[in-house]
Amino acid sequence: MSGMDKLFSGMRIAATGLTAERTRIDVIAENIANARTTRTENGGPYRRKVVRFEPLLRESMGFGAAKGDNVLGVVATSVEQDFTNDPQMVRDPGHPDANADGMVAYPNVNTVLEMADLITALRAYEANLTAQENFVRMAERALRILQ
């Protein structure tokens, strides 16, 4: 791998971070948008979704085990439903989805929590952007040696 290629591969590491964080931002937006959705195609209220992140390892890319730099970035492997807490039951007899007791099942989405997650995701996105910018400057500086 030549010197410039290494700088480009550094930019790609930051790009994987940007993609993964954007996936997280999309999922958070979906959670917030559906915070009051009481009916889904599976029946029952909307379930909060969470993204799973995993390191993108050199082995998994089929390059074989290498000593040294092994982490080539990050990847959002799946988006899964959060079953750790139950839907919130709210009394609202006039609601079309109210049960016999007049209770409505609302999603297990806590919008305050989602907003806090959104802020950390945005910050993480910016950090990856900074890292990417860093490689651009390094490449430009390396080029100037030749001038």
């Binding site: 590491i13 971070g17 390191p55 990050v74 993480a124 890292a131 400057r137 100037r144």
Partner: protein
């Protein structure tokens, strides 16, 4: 410390530049994985080993930057020990080092050009 010979010092600068570039990639990988549960941050070690090798006058040929897993920094509850502020700071520090090595190298190249052209 003995001053390295001119031919040697270009080699040292190239190695420093290459280690600095590797460090930028490792820091970027840490930043990309700041929200990955169970991820252990990595670090590049090179300058100390280089300094020792130069001081003791041993061969630099086999000297390579080393990537180590940082198991000392305490992890968050999700098993990840990346601190975004520290990584961004390390990235900036590293860029200054890269700029420094590049500037020294550029200066050397310019000197050589002057020597070749006989100062005209």
């Amino acid at each position: 410390m003995e001053t390295p010979k001119p031919s040697n010092s270009n080699d040292i600068l190239l190695r420093l530049l290459s280690a600095s570039e590797l460090r930028a990639r490792v820091i970027s990988a840490n930043i990309a994985n700041q929200n990955t549960p169970g991820y252990t941050r990595q670090e590049v070690r090179f300058e100390d080993a280089l300094r020792e090798a130069v001081a003791s006058g041993s061969k630099l040929k086999g000297l390579q930057p080393e990537i180590i897993q940082d198991t000392i920094t305490p992890a968050r509850p999700d098993g990840n020990n990346v601190n975004l502020e520290l990584e961004l700071n390390a990235l900036r520090e590293n860029r200054i080092l890269f700029e420094t090595y590049a500037t020294i190298m550029q200066g050397r190249t310019t000197l050589k050009d002057i020597a070749v052209s006989g100062g005209r």
